[in-house]
Symmetry: C2
Subunit: 199 residues, 2 copies
DNA sequence: GTCTATATCCAGATAGAC
DNA sequence: GTCTATCTGGATATAGAC
């Protein structure tokens, strides 16, 4: 019987962590931080209550790990679209389609949006907030850059780029959260978002 | 020493209730239902913990009273704008200006938006949800009606009125919530929302 | 590595003094 | 009407058995 290598152990441990995180995602999204009980996460993941503490130090740890991932993935996605060989307007269209599509198709994206939202209104110190939301402005900065380029090229409406960006993301967040509260809701045509900025 | 009449007593009682509700508003908005402790509400209102239960039956009672008010006021506001002697497009503009203005000027509106949002993702039975959100679709129905009229008159873009409505409200909700999490944030020009639907 | 049992704390709600 | 004291349940986190 060959003992597992350290590497294999680390992999198994990672898988377990992923399992717990994925179980925690929905629960945190729906109930918020405080209302989520470790017991609920454990039940969702079919493991015992105590085992959760074998993989994470605390409830906060799990929550902020999810927040961090959400922000990271959002940033990556925007930068990915930005790197595509498309005109600025097409990049906006691609972004709108991609995000609304992922919200439409399952609840996972919506859960991430909701978790970030929960985190953003949590009462934590300014320092802590800065740490948690480190890099959280990458999506907005990237979109702003795209819009500014589009204005130069005459594809995008003149006006406050920062304002357009915040409305764009606010709308997406709002839709995601709505979808979570009312799953029957149909996502609107992404083109509506595009027309908001299109000349 | 003249004893207070029943009427005066009722008025005082109402004032006290209002006092508690207003103290509860921010706390519920920021922390959500579960994380809000009766103690916090009492502290915010400078009254004792036990006294809260003299005016309300339970924590839920306070919360759902606030949700109900938020929905009621939102419906009233939209119907008020709709009754104004304005073209459909102007009604949309007035709505956007009014709501963004009230979010800009203080936190109260944002708190109401956030509370509705908390309520919408709460895990309650379908029945209960229907009861809590009774009349909650009045704003959306009213705006949809306005947009449809605007399309007939050629002021509003052709396309899915339901989609435009949901993006419009999603954007506003998203902005309100953002403002709550990051108070320094500037509200965008309402015109951005108007241009989303304007032909 | 996984579970059960439990220590410790704190919250919602009530009772009863003033 | 308002407060303080208390009952009771339940949640986080830990300890220790297997």
């Amino acid at each position: 019987m060959s003992p597992r290598t350290e590497e294999q152990n680390a992999l198994l441990k990672d898988e377990r962590r992923e399992h717990i995180l994925s179980a925690a995602l929905r629960v945190f999204a729906m109930r918020g931080f405080a209302a989520t009980k470790i017991k609920d996460i454990a039940a969702k993941g079919n493991i015992s209550h105590g085992l959760v503490y074998h993989y994470f130090q605390s409830k906060e740890d799990i929550f902020f790990e999810l927040v961090s991932r959400a922000l990271h993935v959002a940033g990556e996605s925007l930068m990915y679209v930005d790197a595509m060989p498309l005109s600025p307007l097409e990049k906006v269209r691609e972004t709108a389609r991609f995000i609304l599509g992922s919200i439409e198709q399952g609840q996972e994206s919506s859960c991430y949006f909701m978790i970030v939202l929960h985190a953003s209104v949590m009462e934590i110190s300014e320092e802590e907030k800065n740490r948690v939301f480190k890099g959280g402005d990458v999506p907005a900065l990237t979109l702003s850059k795209i819009l500014a380029e589009g204005q130069k090229q005459g594809e995008i409406k003149e006006g406050d780029v920062y304002g357009m960006t915040s409305v764009f993301f606010a709308a997406i967040t709002g839709l995601a959260v709505n979808k979570l509260g009312f799953p029957g809701m149909k996502m609107p045509d992404p083109e509506i978002l595009v027309q908001m900025v299109m000349k």
